[in-house]
Symmetry: C2
Subunit: 167 residues, 2 copies
Amino acid sequence: MNNIKYTDKISNTNDNIMKEACDLASYSVSIGGGPFGAVITDKDLNIVGKGHNMVTINNDPTQHAEIVAIRDACKNLNTYILEDYQLYTSCEPCPMCLSAIYWSRIKVVYYGNNRKDAKNIGFDDDFIYDEITKNIEDRSIKMHICNDIYAKGSFNKWSEKQDKQEY
Amino acid sequence: MNNIKYTDKISNTNDNIMKEACDLASYSVSIGGGPFGAVITDKDLNIVGKGHNMVTINNDPTQHAEIVAIRDACKNLNTYILEDYQLYTSCEPCPMCLSAIYWSRIKVVYYGNNRKDAKNIGFDDDFIYDEITKNIEDRSIKMHICNDIYAKGSFNKWSEKQDKQEY
């Protein structure tokens, strides 16, 4: 979806923007992707980024609609901070996408289907929501803390850097 | 990091692979990125993907080391499923990256610094871990459920599709 310029204005209502996100979700299904679409707008509802699920299309498990839309908006706006923008997604975000929304600093999210609807058609985000709240030793993924001498070194390098760009 | 072919064998020990992840983290700091690196290997510890934080370098809040490494491995292996691979990361994954690890089906993660170490140098993953476990109405992000007629349509399209690629 990158490099698309959104010169085509659509009528500025929440309902129309949500329809655009859902149209992207339906389009995704038609070309072999998952049924998810997302649109990012400014406060005047001008579209600054959009995307749809491309996990199976592009062999990339991170290409959920919201992630694709955030990357698209950031590329178009030349920033990694979207605090003045809002996201419309055809479905409640999974934990990966919700976390990405926090990192992007988007403050307002509109969504269509919820996670129960998603589960009913085979997308079980609840499993991941449950897992990431567990103690590390109770997760289905085995997580091992390693010798951290090297790891500490990289953090020290960051702490000591005078001209670092914090975010 | 894409398109790098990993013909350079490094000695196959967990410690050396972790050192490689942490070297990537230090390299990232040296070029203006955050202090995070990650490596993905097969069970014989051959490297199949790697990455470092590029949030501020590429203006992309989703380019955490683990996400970049997962995308790199998936591109190199031409798959969106990494269930036979393991991830080494210089720091305990944030919720976005941990969720991406679940979506990729990686089952084993080695990490160096933990989230408290990260918080001590200014990266507060705990905030997001806390937020995503809250009820929707209690989060700092305002989330609104919308008219879902359109949203239902996209899910129905998925349900009715005969030749869909489920994942």
